[in-house]
Amino acid sequence: MIDVFTFLFTICMLSIVVNLGISLYGVLYKPSLIKKIISLTIFSDSANITAIIIGYVRWRNPGEIAPPVLLNPNPTLEDIEEFAKVAVDPLPQALVLTAIVIGLAVTLFLVFLTLQIYRFYGTTDVRRIAKLKG
């Protein structure tokens, strides 16, 4: 018998996974470049949420979970130990920070490329952007 919390959390996880799948479909099989880029951002954001969620810590009682920021300017050794007990995992957050910037950079370049392609081809339909073949 699982508790309500685990049940709800599993639903959250699964919906993220389904989101990943749907955006993968959009990325791979949608013909419009703009829609492809939108799907790509959804895909990378879902990936980022996956990363955040695995760094999360189970909520037990009020006050037992905190962001990974030490608020006490002059902590004692016990304060630091306590902080390490209640704070969530900071590493996935740092990884996601990196991944967000990278995703932003790549999307930015793709948008510029799409703009330029539209100027030359007059379309954003990938089925018609096919000069290179064979």
């Binding site: 699964l14 189970r58 050794l77 704070a87 990196t98 510029f112």
Partner: protein
């Protein structure tokens, strides 16, 4: 047939992921009861006055990971952003934007303009506080820079692109500003090594605080205020680099489409 294959891939992707979650691949308990051991190390040693040779001296664990424990990642993340902007600039090579000096009549109504004048200063102040307190509170150089870039974006929309250029924020100036910010980041990464070379002591690239085998480091405090060694400098330079980078992008996107198409047409006729 092909549609079926596509659908099958998506379904299998979801199935595999769900199986991994179900069999405990993302942790025996999701979410886990305690953080992982490595995360505990980060949390304990991010700001630890009791172990001076194993700390980043920053109470913000995420910033200390981003710029100290895993600083190399962030340097190259900045490089990725930089190269994306260079790639975009390279796509716009040869597209010359018209320059206008008579710009008073352009833009939105005086009410919006007045409001923008007030808010621009506030935005810059907020951005600076986000960036320069990045080692103390959530935030950091990239977030601060992205916030600061909203100010030129507002000016661009409310006053016009030409007004922004007349303020001195031209492409070349912004690129120079950006390069200076990035070089600042690079120099900060090498600072402890340079100090170590001069003091003839072992040191590492990206070193912040002293380590057992490399006793050089940057001061964690200036006066009474905590700057966490290199972290403050990283955040400071990153803010400049990011804000300038975004503004360059806004300027490029602000060139009227008709102008670009005209130039492309002229070029095509020349060939």
């Amino acid at each position: 047939m092909r549609r079926l294959l596509g659908l099958l891939v998506i379904v299998l992707f979801i199935t595999l992921f769900a199986l991994v979650i179900a069999s405990g691949g993302l942790g025996y308990e999701v979410p886990p009861l305690r953080v992982r051991e490595l995360a505990r190390q980060f949390l304990i040693y991010a700001y630890n006055p009791f172990n001076t040779t194993f700390t980043a001296k920053s109470p913000e664990a995420v910033t200390s990971i981003v710029w100290d424990f895993r600083g190399l990642d962030t340097l190259f993340e900045t490089l990725v952003f930089y190269l994306a902007i260079i790639g975009a600039l390279s796509l716009y090579r040869g597209v010359e934007s018209e320059r206008r000096t008579e710009v008073i009549s352009l833009g939105l109504s005086p009410i919006v303009k007045t409001v923008t004048k007030v808010t621009t200063g506030i935005i810059i102040a907020v951005a600076a506080s986000i960036a320069l307190h990045g080692h103390l509170t959530p935030g950091g150089g990239f977030q601060g820079g992205a916030t600061a870039a909203v100010a030129p974006l507002l000016i661009l929309i409310v006053f016009s692109k030409y007004f922004l250029e007349n303020l001195g924020l031209r492409k070349n100036v912004l690129l120079a500003l950006r390069s200076i910010g990035l070089l600042g980041i690079g120099m900060t990464a090498f600072s402890a090594l340079i100090v170590g070379l001069m003091a003839n002591s072992p040191a590492y690239v990206f070193q912040n605080q002293p380590k057992p085998d490399a006793p050089v480091g940057l001061p964690a405090y200036i006066g009474d205020s905590l700057i966490s060694g290199t972290l403050w400098f990283f955040n400071f330079f990153e803010m400049f680099a990011v804000a300038a980078g975004f503004t360059v992008i806004f300027l490029l996107l602000g060139i009227p489409e008709g102008e670009i198409l005209k130039q492309l047409k002229e070029e095509a006729e020349e060939h």
